[in-house]
């Protein structure tokens, strides 16, 4: 029983995702909002695996989504001529997205993870910009022209299936990825790696002296987080909108959003990115309707207030409030 109880905190996360899915399915006109919210939750959840658990802020995170998008785009455009492969091309695309984001994260991690704190953050800022300029400047993968593969997708899957993929199934895959990221987070939290990451987040030198191979655990978390980002890019960007342009997929704005979501919800918590994603997504959605252009101007002070008043984020506050009550074991 105790073995199962350890995993109870996944219940509220699943409940939130299920509720979002049901609302989107049953209520007219809600799909678009839900698809955006799901994207933000998944983004936060994936980002949290590294930033939340290690305390390292990776400003180049969007690059992993970018290469993931390219992984899917490349396999669709290059393999479209082999029509008999059908949907397997998408499987290859996910595989390629995984491989590319893993390779990039290993390369970045090998250099940047030797640095700490602000130095790490600064070192990673260059990653997405550098990668974008590399693609544009060296004219790799069509350079700045990008790739549009709506036609290829139609050819592979047929027009109707391709349309259903873009408008429906891509969002479902994002949901699956969000759930996957939540499961990975909880498994990590409950495993030795979770304890190691908490230790190194709090005091890296003391952690080393306690026998923790901090570099190993940091790299594992970094690669895991990057892989999830790669898959998310391949789904939410390549499958949902079948084109890819370097300035769009290497836009630092998404990294900032991921940081806001994680900080808002509670870094290093399981439920945090879900709540952060919902709060951020909903406010952004309505702000863009009622006060278009003012979102960031409003978010900046909100974030400041949150950092000062609830440094542990919304879920951190909830955790403190529910301490000693029956809800305690559900909120992690």
């Amino acid at each position: 029983m105790r073995q199962i109880q350890k995993y109870f905190p996944i219940i509220p996360v699943f409940a939130a995702y299920l509720a979002m899915f049901l609302i989107a399915e049953s209520m007219e006109g809600m799909w678009q909002l839900m698809s955006m919210l799901l994207f933000y939750c998944a983004l936060g959840q994936a980002f949290n695996v590294f930033m939340g658990m290690t305390g390292y802020v990776d400003f180049g995170y969007v690059a992993f989504m970018g290469v993931g998008t390219y992984g899917m785009a490349l396999s669709i455009t290059r393999l479209a001529q082999y029509e008999f492969l059908g949907a397997w091309i998408l499987v290859v695309g996910f595989g390629l997205a995984l491989v590319m984001s893993t390779l990039l994260s290993m390369a970045v991690g090998a250099v940047a993870l030797r640095l700490r704190g602000a130095y790490f953050a600064i070192a990673t800022i260059g990653v997405n910009e550098g990668f974008r300029f590399l693609i544009e400047g060296a004219r790799i993968w069509n350079g700045s022209e990008g790739m549009i593969f709506t036609a290829d997708l139609n050819k592979i899957l047929g027009r109707e299936t391709a349309a259903a993929l873009c408008t429906y199934w891509a969002d479902i895959i994002v949901l699956v990825l969000a759930v996957l990221a939540a499961c990975v987070t909880l498994v990590y939290m409950r495993g030795k790696i979770g304890y190691a990451l908490t230790a190194l987040r709090e005091d890296e030198d003391a952690a080393k002296v306690m026998g923790i191979n901090v570099t190993k655990f940091k790299i594992i978390a970094f690669i895991t987080s990057a892989c999830l980002a790669g898959l998310l890019g391949a789904t939410a960007w390549a499958l949902k909108t079948p084109y890819v342009f370097p300035p769009e997929v290497f836009e630092i704005h998404y990294t900032i959003e991921a940081i806001i979501i994680v900080m808002l919800g509670g870094a290093g918590t399981l439920l945090g990115p879900v709540i952060g994603g919902l709060v951020y997504g909903i406010s952004k959605y309505y702000l863009s309707i009622f006060l278009p252009g003012f979102q960031l101007l409003i978010f900046a002070p909100v974030i400041l207030v949150i950092i000062v008043l609830f440094p542990q984020g919304i879920v951190g506050m909830l955790k403190a409030r529910t301490k000693g009550t029956g809800l305690e074991r559900f909120i992690v």
Partner: protein, 249 residues
């Protein structure tokens, strides 16, 4: 064979020789005090022993294995534990989790599961009387409690050698006596050699240490059984200074 052996170990920081050709041996289960005034190289020596710094010269052998170039996280599983002068518990983690980390990555780490480590933590929490604080975040404790958590975390590693960096500084004399008695008991039960670094609280050392090593400006000047060491004129000199020659006191 000695548990830990240092041969002519030198550690420099630029032009400063922090540890100068120090050789010493720590036997299994021994209780050794390292004494020396501020800046005498005690902390650097500890950092060399547990791998935070690698020495420029010399050789370290632990249980027959050359550990001179071994990173700290590989030394801990061999059985080298450490507490810090200013306690450094993992602040956001609970007391129980802190102590479990010790068990998880210590000498028994490879065969302990997460749950197993938490059980070890529970046993130790009971022994050090932290039960009331078990599920509190370690960052919220008082300094003395933090110190206790740190000692408990180090003991959970089941080390063969425990380096204690001014573990007693800042504690009430009564607490020190209790803590000292407790550490001594656990150390002899589990055959842990303890090397305690002492700057001010000589009382604790005298009560416990079988042997005292005195450092002065990075060099070892005395290495003798406690009583002898404390009467050694060089020790008196290091701490109190020399009487001016030819002057009547």
């Amino acid at each position: 064979m000695a548990l830990l052996q240092l041969e002519h170990v030198t550690k420099r920081f630029g032009g400063l020789v922090a540890v100068n050709r120090v050789s010493l041996e720590i036997e299994e289960g021994a209780f050794v005090g390292i004494v020396g005034p501020n800046g005498s190289g005690k902390t650097t020596l500890f950092n060399v022993i547990n791998g935070v710094f690698f020495p420029e010269e010399g050789k370290l052998t632990f249980r027959g294995q050359d550990i001179t170039r071994l990173p700290p996280f590989r030394r801990a599983p061999l059985g080298i534990g450490r507490t810090f002068q200013i306690p450094r518990p993992f602040a956001s983690a609970t007391v129980r989790e802190n102590i479990a980390v010790g068990a998880m990555f210590g000498t028994q780490g490879h065969k302990l599961s997460v749950d197993g480590s938490l059980e070890v933590a529970d046993q130790i929490i009971e022994r050090v009387d932290l039960t009331a604080h078990r599920d509190k975040a370690a960052g919220t404790l008082t300094p003395v409690e933090k110190k206790l958590v740190e000692i408990a975390r180090a003991l959970a590693m089941k080390p063969r050698l425990l380096l204690m960096d001014e573990a007693m500084a800042g504690m009430h004399p009564n607490d020190i006596d209790q803590m000292v008695a407790f550490i001594k008991r656990v150390a002899s039960e589990e055959n842990i050699a303890i090397v305690a670094m002492v700057e001010h609280i000589m009382r604790a050392v005298i009560g416990l240490a079988e042997k005292v090593i005195v450092l002065h400006q990075g060099s070892k000047i005395v290495d003798a059984p406690t009583k002898e060491a404390l009467q050694d004129p060089r020790v008196v000199e290091v701490y109190l200074g020399r009487a001016p020659e030819g002057e009547a006191c």
